[in-house]
């Protein structure tokens, strides 16, 4: 195994399989015996291994036949690009496919008859479940919204979903995704707002939509925040109402580390929040989260975390319920959640495959630097 030369610093060199002793050189021992440890991979210049998702597996589809060809358009690797024969009686194409994929070969894993591939829905409604829904902010990747919708329906049942679209360039594609599902509303912004304002618009729309729909609690999700725990919405909503607080989320704290030398601190995380619709349906509150730009062209630049926290502090009592679905460190994986700061692209692909979705080649888990360079990103 190649690794950086080690001078052992007075300790004893180690070999594979050797037991660790008092004087063993720790870096050498780690390289030989713990090759997948994140620190070893970092020494070797490799990215961390994708976080395993024990709940996610690819069950075999009973209608699935042999591989006929491979998708040439989706850019997916391995299992994801297989186009198979399909013996499902409702599938006239006899191929495990959904539809034209940019004019190329159709993609096996998005087959609408492929329900056997998806694990059985773990969601079970319970008496007393409060009416609740989800609002998702959308930009750039309609397939990711497709995955979100499938995952929400899988974990939380047929709850209403609002998709707040801040991407005029892909409006039709996103509208088509939403139209495929019952009770999914596509709500485009009249013009592009950008990241921060788009996030806040999502909040504003979610509260108003929730009130119109008679929902007690609305969850606001960022598009790359995927919750895989069954009943996360219903259980979170019940806890929020029991607390009589207006909001559930977590604080955002990342201690200084190699990758983020200054660390991170925000009063709250905005990528996943539960909102008590009655508390937020107040003119003063809604005015403070109006859909507009908060970072671009404003004398006062405010990030989304500050806009939400200021609203909470000034109008809603200043206290939120800690939502224990996820932790305070955005960069540490929480069981039951896939999030772009704590997971890698293969984690998203694995989950997408379970739900018959292929994420596009340009999907990524990084920040928006690439889009910014191309001029397609707006701070909003």
């Amino acid at each position: 195994m190649k690794h950086k030369p080690c001078e052992h610093d007075g300790f004893t060199a180690s070999a594979p399989g050797q037991a660790f002793a008092d004087r063993t050189c720790t870096p050498c021992w780690m390289v030989h015996n713990r090759p997948d440890d994140p620190s070893v991979r970092a020494w070797r210049g490799l990215p961390p291994k994708p976080t395993p998702l024990p709940a996610v597996a690819l069950p075999v589809c009973s209608a699935e036949g042999p591989i006929l060809e491979r998708c040439t358009a989706c850019g997916a690797a391995g299992e994801l690009n297989h186009v198979r024969d399909c013996s499902h009686p409702d599938n006239p194409t006899e191929r495990c496919t959904r539809g034209p994929n940019n004019g190329a070969v159709w993609n096996c894993t998005t087959c609408p008859h492929h329900s056997a591939r998806k694990p059985p829905d773990p969601f079970e409604p319970r008496p007393g479940d409060v009416p609740c829904g989800v609002v998702i902010g959308a930009y750039k990747w309609p397939a990711l919204i497709d995955l979100q919708i499938r995952l929400i329906r899988h974990t939380c049942g047929p709850v209403p979903i609002l998709v707040s679209d801040d991407d005029p360039d892909r409006r039709d594609r996103l509208a088509a995704v939403c139209a495929r599902y019952p009770d999914v509303t596509h709500d485009p912004n009249p013009e592009r707002i950008g990241h921060t304002g788009g996030d806040i618009a999502c909040l504003w729309k979610g509260v108003r939509w929730g009130k119109e729909r008679g929902l007690a609690v609305v969850a606001k999700l960022s598009q790359r925040f995927l919750a895989t725990r069954p009943r996360w919405l219903q259980d979170g909503a019940a806890n929020l109402l029991a607390s009589r607080l207006p909001l559930a989320t977590r604080r955002a704290i990342t201690p200084p580390n190699k990758r983020i030398p200054k660390g991170e601190f925000f009063q709250l995380r905005t990528e996943a929040m539960l909102l008590d619709v009655a508390a937020w349906s107040n003119p003063a509150v809604l005015t403070s989260i109006l859909p507009r730009k908060y970072m671009d062209g404003q004398a006062e630049k405010r990030i989304a975390e500050d806009v939400v926290y200021d609203t909470l502090r000034d109008h809603l009592g200043g206290v939120f319920l800690p939502w224990l679905l996820f932790g305070e460190d955005r960069h540490v994986a929480a069981p039951g959640v896939v999030w772009h700061n704590s997971h890698q692209r293969p984690d998203y692909d694995a989950l997408a495959a379970v739900f018959g979705v292929t994420l596009p080649a340009d999907f990524h888990v990084a920040g928006w630097g690439v889009e910014l360079k191309k001029g397609s990103y707006l701070f909003g």
Partner: protein, 204 residues
Amino acid sequence: MKFDSISLVIATSGRPTLARTLASLRGQAWEPQDEILLIGDGPQPLAADLWRQFRLPGRYLECPGGPHRDWGHTPRNWVLDEKLATGDYLAALDDDDVWTPDALGMIRKAIIFAPDGGPDVEYRPLLFRMDCTRVPTLEKVVWEQPEIRYANVGTGILVVPNRPAKLARYTPKHGGDIDMIRDTCRFYPAGPVWREELICVCRP
């Protein structure tokens, strides 16, 4: 001069209802020597974070060895065993109950005007009233009669002098708080003072 500082002990298993319990303590007439001891039954991240946000006087502590899941009896006994409370009087509240808006003011007034227990200026336990009308098995305000028995007294109604030698322990069973109230009051020959003020609401 009478000593009237109060330590309020809340044992919590991290239920979300703790938020409304803590919310009810905001705006009470806290004085500098008063304190709230929020005791997690083992590590309770929800309770710790709520405590940080509510900014109330006192401390958040975690009872070692938890969660014990015994209605908060072990965490409250731990406070007594370790003599963690510094107030002249001890009060307690469950994490799904709330204080009424001026509960602390009423308690302090009752302490200041409470009858003396004897020449050693030792005051007597006070037993206030608690609204249990929303508790399906009770649906009434307790205490109804001035007697210590099940369904007539509860954790939230006792305010007792913080004298370690005269504090009984919560017994490890449902209703263990009744035993604690009864056994503590036995240390006082004159018995408790039965107060009419409603200081808390059970499961509002």
